[in-house]
Symmetry: C2
Subunit: 155 residues, 2 copies
Amino acid sequence: MSPSPRAETTVGAGPAVEAWEALLRSQVALWRLLEADDVWEPITPREYDVLHTLGRCPDGRARIRDLHREVLLSQPSLSRLVERMAEAGLVAREPDPADGRGTVVVLTETGDRLRRRVGARHAESIRRTVGVALDEREQQALRLLCDKLRAGTRT
Amino acid sequence: MSPSPRAETTVGAGPAVEAWEALLRSQVALWRLLEADDVWEPITPREYDVLHTLGRCPDGRARIRDLHREVLLSQPSLSRLVERMAEAGLVAREPDPADGRGTVVVLTETGDRLRRRVGARHAESIRRTVGVALDEREQQALRLLCDKLRAGTRT
DNA sequence: CCAAGGTCCATGCGTTTGCATGGACACAGG
DNA sequence: CCTGTGTCCATGCAAACGCATGGACCTTGG
């Protein structure tokens, strides 16, 4: 509303803020493209995220608590998402023998096949999209910086 | 479910996929910290996103269509979010004199004050979080890479 | 061994989201 | 001018979300 003094917080916010904002906006922009790409077919991106995360766990199994750390979703929402995926046969739920409170989510054969199929298409989609914007050296630099950022914030 | 051949799609997916995955995961991790930080007080992060985006527009006004490009939200959801924010007095909605279909969203005095107040706290939160993980040179490098990535994908 | 406190998951509930759609307007080509 | 096509925003509706909470189970200290 004021004619010009809007610049204060946006211009001189410092390199940390600018870095975060660039990170956020590039992630959002890229995500929209990847999400809109026709590679998900029988599942949603969020379901694939769960499958993908499970795929990186030993034996394709993980506690809900551990999935919750990776997937951007509240614990109740994740709980119900897993429930739906179990009904669809993508995962199975079994009690944790080592901890009576825990629920272990297991990738089924069907779920693993789907993970591979969608994963391959999705990866190709990523290569197309990221590949035109950054060369291989820049991709690696970006990866290093993001990994360092994530490691440094996990205090 | 297979004992070991799970590595295929995760290991050798290529630098582009690894870069995107690192970007995604660092963004999610950081976002959780920033979202959990007690700086939002009277509004939600998504509402702040709208205020912030409006703040960077000339005269603090923008079409819903333009907001939609920046904010990660479907058009109907954004439409209703703006509606709620208008009821709360943070923005005002008026028809676009230049385009009968359009709705212009205007930052009110109240909304702009709130934007500044939350923005300052949020920026401080970002500096704390990002600052401990990356030094200033790395922050700038990250910003450049992300900007280039976003520019390159906007084809 | 027991009590107190913490962790983990599931469920009730109100809110918000996305999809599909519709109405109003803009913008060409004939 | 006017008709067809495309754009922009709002709304009905079902699905999904987050918050608050509860019950079951671990864990620690006395």
